[in-house]
Symmetry: D2
């Protein structure tokens, strides 16, 4: 593992960081900037070159207040009081004692009195997806997802002093463990073998004797960060003198080349079947007599020829792989997974949400803003929408109307008329530049206005100037 430590490391408080971010127009730049603060003093470029998906990293800052404002036990308590938190759905009560991992969820709503009683009795509390309840976490994750191009999630863990809540295990995600309060003793172990390095699925709970010696052992204090790739086994326990609150930010679940190949291969086979008769030819009349597990040890030249033909067809398949279409399937899933954007005040006043339409005495006020040919427009986020073709239709998938609750709604999309496709594509490629509606590649001016209005009304656009209700 790689170690960074030494003297105290300081940085701007999160609220200032978020305020500063709101002045950055490009959502990708915003994401990088926030991530830079998150892993400072490591540089993102170095991190992704030398550490990401390779080995754990530890950042000790000797600055307990570095992450202040992100999440706290006070916020945890507020959520329990104000939100309809359900045991087993949003909150898990767990313990790990003498090698035994247990879950203690009762049914129904998790009211503070009951929750804190479990905590007093030594149980750990895992709040799932705090972004559903906490606006700051929502904001941070929704910004970061533009960097990762893959869903960014989170869980928070509150552990009583002197206890451990979970057995040693590895996860299927890249994990950023951010210590928020108190401290926790962590041990990280190498994957047990090559095939458990960067695994597709999480492990079962291990026993100590299964996992060897830790490669990294530390006490994480508030303000510190610990990163480890998927497959690295880990366990954390509280010292007798301090409780612990941390949030784990995660990404890259099922986001490997194999996950893309799962989409590519059936599509490639379909294309190959259509275009290449070699794929459609019948199998040899007698292949069942020498192929199959019961014939695996047979020495027979027909086996070699058969296997060679399969292998050569698989290789040919690469010529037929519709990679872009398969990427679109992943992109669609990602847009469905995405958090909706958190809008800055300026973004509100420069988008449909700031449209000064109101009713007065049952009349719509006549100063409705108008998109005009000279209006300069830009997508609200780099990754907020994506054009995908489906059969003959062209669909625009988008995340602006997603719920903060993971997958509560179906994917959102709208069909784009053939004559508008180039204009939408033009806007996507223009990002982060503002372009006048007049510049959209449509044959008629009213179609340019139509495209702009459709996207604007779905909350997908910002305008450079505030649409002036008084003009």
């Amino acid at each position: 593992g790689m170690w960074i430590s030494g003297k105290q490391h300081t940085g701007p408080p999160l609220m200032t960081v978020l305020q500063d971010l709101s002045k950055i127009h490009n959502s990708k730049t915003r994401a990088t900037s926030l991530f830079e603060w998150l892993i400072s003093p490591l540089a993102p470029a170095d991190f992704f070159r030398n550490i990401w998906e390779q080995k754990p990293a530890l950042i000790k800052r000797d600055n307990h207040r570095y992450y202040d404002g992100l999440f706290s036990t006070t916020e945890f308590d507020r959520i329990l009081r104000e939100d309809n938190v359900k045991f087993g759905v949003n909150l898990d009560v767990t313990s790990y004692t003498d090698g035994t991992r247990e879950t203690h969820n009762p049914p129904g709503r998790a009211l503070p009195l009951v929750v804190w009683d479990y905590f007093k009795n030594g149980c750990s509390l895992r709040l799932l997806n705090p972004q559903s309840f906490c606006r700051t976490v929502w904001n941070v994750l929704s910004v970061l997802q533009e960097l990762f191009g893959s869903m960014v999630g989170a869980n928070t863990y509150l552990t009583p002093a002197g206890t451990q809540g979970f057995a040693p295990h590895y996860d299927d995600i890249e994990a950023f463990v951010i210590q928020l309060e108190g401290k926790k003793h962590w041990r990280v172990y190498n994957p047990r073998n090559n095939s458990e390095f960067l695994p597709q699925f999480s492990s079962v709970n291990f026993r100590d004797r299964d996992i060897g010696e830790p490669i990294l052992e530390t006490v994480l204090e508030a303000g510190d960060l610990l990163y480890f790739p998927r497959g690295f086994i880990h366990q954390g326990d509280c010292l007798p003198d301090a409780h612990s609150l941390h949030i784990t930010i995660s990404s890259y679940q099922r986001n490997s080349w194999a996950d893309l190949l799962e989409k590519v291969l059936p599509a490639a086979l379909q294309v190959a079947v259509e275009e290449d008769v070699e794929f459609r030819k019948g199998l040899p009349l007698d292949y069942l007599e020498y192929m199959g597990v019961q014939h695996a040890d047979l020495k027979d030249p027909r086996r070699d020829a058969f296997i060679q033909n399969i292998q050569s067809l698989i290789k040919k398949l690469s010529d037929y792989a519709p990679v872009d279409a398969a990427v679109d399937q992943k992109a669609k899933n990602f847009l469905h997974d995405c958090l909706p954007p958190v809008l800055t005040p300026a973004e509100k006043t420069h988008s449909v949400h700031g449209a000064p339409v109101t009713l007065d005495s049952g009349k719509v006020k006549d100063d409705t803003l108008q998109i005009e040919l000279e209006t300069k427009i830009c997508l609200l986020r780099g990754g907020i929408a994506r054009l995908c073709s489906e059969g003959d239709a062209c669909l625009l998938y988008y995340s602006s109307e997603n719920s903060r609750i993971y997958h509560r709604d179906e994917p959102n999309y709208m069909e784009i008329a053939a004559e508008h496709v180039y204009a939408v594509e033009y806007l996507i490629h223009a990002y982060p530049r503002y372009v006048p509606v007049r510049s959209l590649p449509c044959s008629h001016e009213d179609e340019k206005l139509t495209v702009a209005t459709i996207l604007f009304e779905k909350g997908l656009l910002t305008t450079r100037e505030q649409l002036n209700p008084l003009r």
Copy 2:
């Protein structure tokens, strides 16, 4: 197309052929022998080398009685009287008049009075899967399936003089049209383009203007045969002076390399993911910014690198393809599709079906036959059973208990204990040789007897000598 004709061609009647077949022990040889008679004077080897999956073939024999005994209108009438034939399930009433194809099935049972009334009024009758009702057809198809290694099916078509029952179309199977009574005017057309040659799915009904000029036009008379590969468009109509009865024997539905690849590819990907970390690595952080249909026209070196990586992974996939396991999946499906074997009298007396066990006054007669160590045994058919591994278990799939009704029952299989696997494999490889039970590779003699008894009791074995009830 290839033409064979000339002077009269004769051969033994089917009943003699079947009787002779019953003297051939090896089921594969039986199948070839029956097929030889079917396409005589073409030789099977020539047929499969020069015609099969390549082009139509016509065999005119000037011998109306060549196929006598296979199926007839008398048999058709008997089936209607004796069996519970259902419209829409077992029998279709159709017409094709002035370019319009119609189906006229009423609900319920197809009683002869009603069926023949439709026929009198110019409708064609298609009896589906006559093997369910007619023992000879069942016998012929069950023998042939050992040659093709793929389900062999059949339909019979009875058409009134001067009418046509079906629109021009192509099928997804290799078709052997066997004229049984009367005559029919046939036209066969080339596939409309390369991608409809050896297609995976049948076509819609065509109009005449869609299909060009026939490459083969003939009047098929009783005793003649017409073969054409899947994808070749065809239509047949009756001359004003004669009705027609033919049976179409078919095979090779969804039996192409692509159909096997459908099984191979997901399995290969799974193996590759387990063994090769390159498949498990994360996708590039920014791939959604240059990949996907909306970026298809982008000139960006990252695109080339991305596509190249996908292609190289697909090529590497061929190293991980578990071809034998995938073949077993096809083999399992084939065994589920198979007709059960039709046993010859000798096979009955030399298998479990001939076991002379009976009851007398409520007592089981004590002369139950016994499999002993010296008993010489052999599988009943070369393709009657197949060892497949499923997870950790080893399963023997078999067709001896299948129904004559397609897929009426679930696939039949039994788990083979680890210590019996080699013995079962040994028997499979020994086919068509008889081997003594003593020679089975088991550690104990009683296990040899157990394996033999289990398979014998499921009807999968024949014994060389009749098990003597009097010993």
Copy 3:
């Protein structure tokens, strides 16, 4: 229980009985006649007045051959050899030893060798629904169902000497235990209490200590019959010196007034809601405050008024009960449960099955029989079809196309056009009289012919004279 015994009782053999039955036109009379033979020397009228649904009855005939021809171990063996009998579906292998009831069904087909081996080892064999495999049983049950107006089923039981196959229990059907071979020791017990007399569902397996002393104990010998109503506990075991084969014929499963009320009540409520506003009025605003289990002990006049209103509404419901429509629902289910009729030779030649239509050289022979206005027609069986109204349509349900396999097919029915309803009803009411087609109450002569032809073609009619093919 009631006992009948004494000196030897003889009667005609079953084959003669069935032959004689075939001369009886009225299917209801046939049924009574066959039942008379079955329970002779008891008279059916006495039986139904004094015994049926009241108490067990024992008929000892001292005539081992009385039921010869109905079913036998030889027939059992034939079925195993020729039919695809499946363990667990058609055949159960059971034992009851030292108070423990076990089922030993292996998977797959029940081949004789394996079945008889179980038997030799002391297992009982229960062949379910022998009517699916044995024509005589099918014939007997299909005749009897006309008497009972409720499905008549059967199971056969073959038990080795000195063993017992089943634990003491009671069934949900009226049972006629007919001893066919060997003998069996039977004990019958009273229902344990009033609420288990004529129960709707079968019992669990009892232990001896649960059931008290038998009210009837006997050794049933071939030719004897034992009847007991549902709810009477029973057990049978074989003496050391003889095996036993018996068939249990059963009826009246779920055929009680309550089963009819299940259909009547929802329909009655629907009618009442439509016609009587008292049913549609809202519940009292405060009813939840004094009604419900938590208030059951409350003394409150509002409770009395509430309960009184519910009770008076239930009583009013009886005025709205659409009894005939509910009976039709039961009748439809019965027709679905029914076995198809076994036709006598005369019935074949006087119905659609005897229609001398055939093909000759692909031509339908022109001597098709014709229903004419003077043709005298009659339903094939009294209970073969039933007119039911469904919504606005009038449907004729019928059993002539049922399968011998219980519920293998969906219920068979055809819609009857409004102008034909009276004619169909007329034919139903006319049974068992033959009436000329001319007498059907239709407005036009061709409609009379249409009705007759439709029913004739579905196999629902016989004609008085054989339709002459030579006319």
Copy 4:
């Protein structure tokens, strides 16, 4: 219809009403008090005696501000801006022009810009279940549901001047139309016939010619109320000079005697079958020969006897009707339908929600409140929970954890141990009295504390004194 009008009618503003309500302990009294204000100057007792479920009533107050604070277009606009309102799910855009009723919902989120554009173009807006978004509506409905003992729902309707949004129709609920802004011209018509008076289901859209002359025609102005029972046809349209905003509060959907009978009848039949052998006796052997629609016209004494028996069984059924158990089924459904209670500040501090448990530096503060034997407790609402028996278990269903979104969650319930049932029942019957924990009828003091704690922790109890954290 009944008319109330005359000079101006005033009353306290809603906020004052709600404040005053919070001082009333008994939730039933609260409900009546709020309803009194709603229909003032009508008295609730008069209303329920003379009008409810009988005829429409109109209350004109000449006081536009009477209902101020309940709902407004400003609130409507706020909801669109802040909440994720979905077209078709939460909001319908409709029009009724020249006799044609249309729905114009686009897919996705209803953003204000788009919604108000529809309105400007003459469409009506129906916001469904405003209680999900508006706390005051939630509060009002959750109070009223205690009066009606049946779900209380609401929709709001915003209609542009000079338009109509809906066709004439009748509903399946009791409707209170409350005019909030502008005015609307209403016409109410008698049910078309007796069977449409108090119907179970809503009507289709009618045409003017179907519905006769109105029995009540008025212009409803802000501050007015119009009530009509289910079955009364109605239509409302805006005058050219004013838009309209109204909220319709509804109740008594499927809450009639028939709806209860639907639960009672199957349960009564089940009891009768168990207790009374007359229900279990078999139907007459021959009943299918004289009963059923095809025999409906038959003169046969057996028909009379049969029908009489059915009718007498139905009448006897009333003796077996488990009315309380059936009421519990309705009560369970009602509790599932219920809105969760809106807690007053005092209720918060005197219930689990005010429990002063918090975390400080990861430690639970030790001043957790304690339920003690002397603590005086009371259910939070009269109707918040209900004991129902299910099989052998006793379940307490409750509404305190319901969602504001209709049926978003499954019904909430907990099993009550047998030794706690009387204590829970005691608390239910004690309502609205406070009782000391010591008085609970349990055998041990710690069980009294357990019962109280369980209910307290689920939010079902209030304590008389605030549980003092400083004691």
